[in-house]
Amino acid sequence: MSDALETQTFQVTRADLIRYCGASGDFNVIHWSERLATKVGLPGVIAHGMYTMALVGRAVTRWAGAPDAVVEFSVRFSRPVPVPDTDEGTEVVVSGVIKEVTDDGLTKLNLTATCNGDKVLSLAQATIRKR
């Protein structure tokens, strides 16, 4: 594992958000209704923060090489991820660097997620245990 982890890009469409509504049980209108999202001052339909966190989780488990490697995982949702009603939707780009490898075999990662060049998470960190 190198210090900077390979950047991973995830496409996000409206269909993905609808599917995530169903799978997670979070049917907040701002994730599927343009009309109601703009009414509360948002630029439009936005992704669930937990959907973005899930994509970062995919990146982390892929870097770790194991689906059960994550020991600790935390994020702050600093900016919404608007998802336009187009075939392409938008993209979330996830990168990470190794901050520390502890004596007891844990690796601490600092994570970055961007959409349209803007950071959508801050204080995003994961601790993984190599198998």
């Binding site: 169903g22 799978a23 488990t61």
Partner: protein, 151 residues
Amino acid sequence: MPLDPSFVGRSWPPSEPYLVGREKIREFARAIGAPDPEYHDPEAARAIGYADVVAPPTFPIVITMTTSHQIVTDPALGMDYTRVVHGDQRFKYTRPVVAGDELVCVNSVEEITQRGGHDFLTTRTEVTTVGGEHVVTAWSKLVQRGEADAA
């Protein structure tokens, strides 16, 4: 109206057990586009030491968000859910959630603060099996935006 600070330190009785289904984990993994075989194929999960398919790291939110609803909807807390956004999320795992787990949540309020006209509520959810084995602890910070910000 600020949130009632007397809620800090309060905890609630354990939730009804949630039985984690194999198809629910598969559905969640499909929804986040995660193809890892251990999320879908019990044999692949057994090969790394689990009894059934394992869940992706953020899966516990499916269970914890539902049970922590009892806190945020308590009228005495004074939270206007239409002005609430998700601020922070943190998980600390003992092990991943596995299909077949019967999970119980104990919710508490860890912190209530105010800053810049916004109210912040941090809930903590201890997720254990019905047998008392710790699986994961989840912290959610919710932000109630100030009235002036509300549309």
